[in-house]
């Protein structure tokens, strides 16, 4: 018997992983949650059938969503993480002793419960004393915050389903309000490659650009995400990720990372021409 997990990347493209054994299936108030084990990627976690995290390649995503802003401003103390129920983003953040407080807002408590049980690799730091978990809509949470955070990381699902509100103008505007005067907003920015993803990417870029004076996009290669070519948004009220990075300071922290390094930091903002073009078109 062969068991395969298949994600439909477009109407005409499929991506499959051979399943060794299913570990969990459940339906929360918001979405279907599945975890299975595979030889190739270890434990794999999906929401509504869409790939979220695999044990084998999660380091790329979590390195890039956390270390880029942290190396740009070494004085970050208060962080808000939205989504990120698997815990990987918080795990990376807790490696910085300089961070004093992390609020994590995940709409779906069941996601966190399932990840604690089946993905200890990413969920291992959710009980760090600096971390406070909130189970509510990120849009609602951020609405009431003003001048409160140095960094907001939006580690969301795609903009269809419960993540929809996290790609809207009202969300980015409220994030702007919730950030301090030198605050940074980093978000998972979808993929430029397939048309549907590229549209979400353009929309997000256009909306963020309306609020933040610094608005850059950087990339990483994530094998299990559609097309493998994934983008992140870096928006800030003050810091430029390329000129404000203090390489020496970050390297002297001695953090061991599997993907991120300060050369990648400088290189990841260099984008292919077609992506640049998409971004320029989005701004018009």
């Amino acid at each position: 018997m062969e068991l395969w997990y298949t994600e439909q990347h477009t109407k005409n493209v499929r991506f499959s992983i051979k399943v060794d054994k299913p570990l969990y299936s459940g339906q929360s108030e918001f979405q279907r949650i599945d975890v299975f084990n595979s030889h190739e990627f270890g434990n794999v976690f999906t929401l509504d059938g869409l790939m979220m995290v695999t044990e084998k390649d999660e380091f790329i995503y979590h390195d890039m969503i956390v270390h880029v802003p942290m190396a740009t401003n070494s004085k970050i103390k208060k962080v808000l993480v939205i989504g990120a129920g698997d815990g990987g983003t918080v795990r990376e953040l807790t490696r910085y002793n300089t961070i004093e407080h992390i609020d994590m807002v995940e709409i779906d408590k069941m996601v966190v419960d399932v990840c604690r049980e089946y993905l200890p690799q990413t969920a291992c730091k959710l009980d760090d004393p600096r971390v406070r978990l909130y189970f509510e809509d990120g849009l609602r949470f951020v609405r009431s915050k003003e001048n409160a955070y140095d960094l907001i990381i939006v580690d969301s699902t795609d903009p269809f389903g419960p993540g929809e509100g996290l790609f809207t103008r009202e969300f980015y505007g409220n994030c702007f309000k919730a950030l301090l005067d030198d605050g940074i907003l980093v978000n998972q920015h979808e993929s430029p490659y397939y048309v549907e993803y590229a549209k979400s990417m353009q929309r997000a870029h256009k909306r963020i650009k309306e609020f933040f004076p610094v608005c850059r996009v950087y990339q990483a290669h994530i094998p299990t995400y559609p097309s493998g070519h994934w983008l992140f948004g870096f928006a800030s009220k003050k810091y430029n990720p390329l000129t404000d990075i203090d390489e020496q300071a970050w390297n002297s922290l001695g953090l061991k990372t599997k993907y991120y390094n300060t050369d990648i930091h400088k290189g990841c903002f260099a984008l292919p021409n077609y992506v640049k073009e998409l971004l320029v078109n989005a701004e018009e």
């Binding site: 809509d137 849009l139 609602r140 609405r143 009431s144 419960p162 929809e164 509100g165 809207t168 103008r169 009202e170 969300f171 505007g173 409220n174 309000k177």
Partner: protein, 492 residues
């Protein structure tokens, strides 16, 4: 006798949906159609079939014996009507496919002939005044009063109704808007009692009140209050397709007479898409309505609390109740007063749509209104609330110079019918002061006329029209599509 809502509903029968079931049987019979409609279950119009879906086109069919006939129902439509009547606590329920507009007109035309008087508030929907043009009935307007802060018209005060009855003892009917667009309810029970005492019928435009029949802790419904007829827009908050509606009646009027009146203007090709949507929605509300509207209520209350927390906005509700012109309030309506942030409701309405991709029901000079219904989700409400918070942060203006809207007492010179059929000519609106208006001018939505045929045009009215236009209200009603000119009655 006061009939409590749902007291006689036979739940064990309400799980049936005779029209829907007949359509399912029809489909399974695989009938070869040599009748209209000519698309023949979609085959003749592939593009439309692709767009709407084969399932939809396959039941877009004509009346036939197994599916009954809306004009003269004897089988499945009759059964569906009986079930609907049972669900709404009415003596009879008519399925309407020409909108609630047709239901309102049928109500008025069933009780008013040429020259008969009908007592009504001026803030009725245009469909009611249209019915006066067709029937030749004479309106006796009751000033609904205005909430000064919000600028919204209120309900009918019992004392005002009493006065109108005493001054017009020959009136045939009293027409009540219940609830108003904004959710204001009148004292329907007392008005009905008073009307019946004077042998007048009570007709209720209950377009926005479907949920009163199914939810708990709702204002009293027209049928429960003893009214004689009610027009209920099932499609507004009940989940059926746009244009489908119910006309309910109690025992004072005969079913046959009302049906004959409906058939004067209603199509003879009643759409089975609309009919089945009414049937299925009635079943859904009868079975699940209590839970559905409990959720709707809690969503609306939650949104109100959150919006009021933002500051600058005022999402109003039951605190407006004053025992008279606001006898009760429909808390499922999410009405928000916006002028304290220096924006007209219509401006907030436009920003929500253009900048945030959120379409709400209406914006007027001072308020916006969002409809919360059977189909709403928490996540969408969070977007609305967060967008309002952003609009306040980004767009707040000085509120000086904003127009304060007062109720403008209409000066009715002739009946709507007389005016409509008089010789008329066109003048520029800004030069029309003093003339008698020959047509309608209104913002849409809500579709409540600023001017109706037969009313004297004043400077105040023109100022209001100009201001509404400048703020971006969508004005309609005039023959002139640009609403620059107006037709006036040639007075001899």
């Amino acid at each position: 006798m006061v009939i409590e809502r749902g007291a006689f509903m036979h739940l064990h029968r309400q799980d049936k949906a005779p029209i829907y079931e007949a359509l399912e049987r029809y489909k399974s019979m695989r009938v070869v159609p040599f009748d209209v409609p000519g698309h023949k279950q979609g085959r003749g119009n592939p593009e439309l079939t692709e767009f709407l879906g084969q399932k939809c086109l396959s039941v877009d069919v004509n009346s036939m014996k197994p599916l009954d006939n809306l004009v003269h129902p004897v089988s499945v439509i009759k059964e569906a009507e009986e079930l609907a009547a049972d669900a709404f606590g009415a003596q009879h329920a008519f399925f309407m496919v020409n909108g609630t507009t047709a239901a309102v007109q049928a109500m008025i035309m069933s009780v008013c002939k040429q020259g008969d008087k009908i007592i009504m508030p001026r803030n009725v929907h245009r469909s009611a005044i249209n019915a006066l043009i067709i029937s030749g009935a004479i309106p006796v307007y009751v000033n609904p009063g205005v909430n000064k802060l919000l600028g919204i018209p209120l309900g009918m005060s019992v004392a005002e109704v009493k006065n109108a009855i005493e001054e017009n003892p020959d009136a045939k009917a009293i027409f009540v808007n219940n609830p108003t667009y904004y959710g204001v309810c009148s004292d329907l029970r007392s008005i009905t009692e008073l009307a019946h005492l004077h042998n007048m019928c009570v007709l209720v435009d209950e377009a926005h009140g479907t949920h009163f029949y199914f939810g708990e802790n709702m204002p009293v419904s027209a049928m429960a209050a003893g009214a004689d007829m009610a027009a209920v827009s099932m499609h507004k908050t009940g989940g059926s397709l746009t244009q489908s509606s119910f006309l309910l009646k109690s025992s004072r009027l005969t079913t046959g007479h009302v049906r004959q009146t409906i058939n004067l203007t209603q199509t003879t090709s009643g759409s089975y898409l609309l009919l089945s949507s009414l049937d299925i929605s009635r079943r859904n509300l009868a079975m699940e309505g209590k839970n559905i509207f409990k959720k709707v209520s809690s969503l609306a209350n939650y949104a109100r609390e959150e919006i009021n927390k933002i500051g600058g906005y005022y999402a109003f509700s039951k605190e407006l109740i004053n025992g008279d012109s606001v006898f009760d309030f429909d808390h499922t309506k999410l009405s928000v007063y916006t002028r304290d942030i220096g924006l007209a409701g219509i401006e907030v309405y436009d920003i929500l749509r253009d900048d945030y991709g959120i379409q709400i029901e209406l914006g007027d000079i001072g308020n916006i209104l969002a409809i919360i219904s059977v189909g709403d989700r928490e996540l969408a409400l969070e977007r609305l609330v967060s967008s309002l918070s952003e609009i306040k942060r980004l767009y707040t203006k000085d509120k000086a110079g904003m127009l304060d809207h007062e109720y403008i007492n209409p000066n009715v010179v002739m009946t709507p019918q007389q005016a409509f059929y008089s010789d008329q000519h066109t003048v520029a609106i800004k030069e029309s002061i003093g003339y008698v208006c020959g047509e309608f001018v209104m913002s849409y939505p809500p579709g409540i006329p600023i001017l109706a045929p037969g009313e004297r045009i004043t400077k105040e009215i023109i100022d209001y029209i100009t201001y509404s236009k400048a703020k971006g209200c969508f004005l309609t009603g005039t023959e002139d599509m640009a609403v620059e000119n107006i037709k006036i009655v040639e007075e001899s």
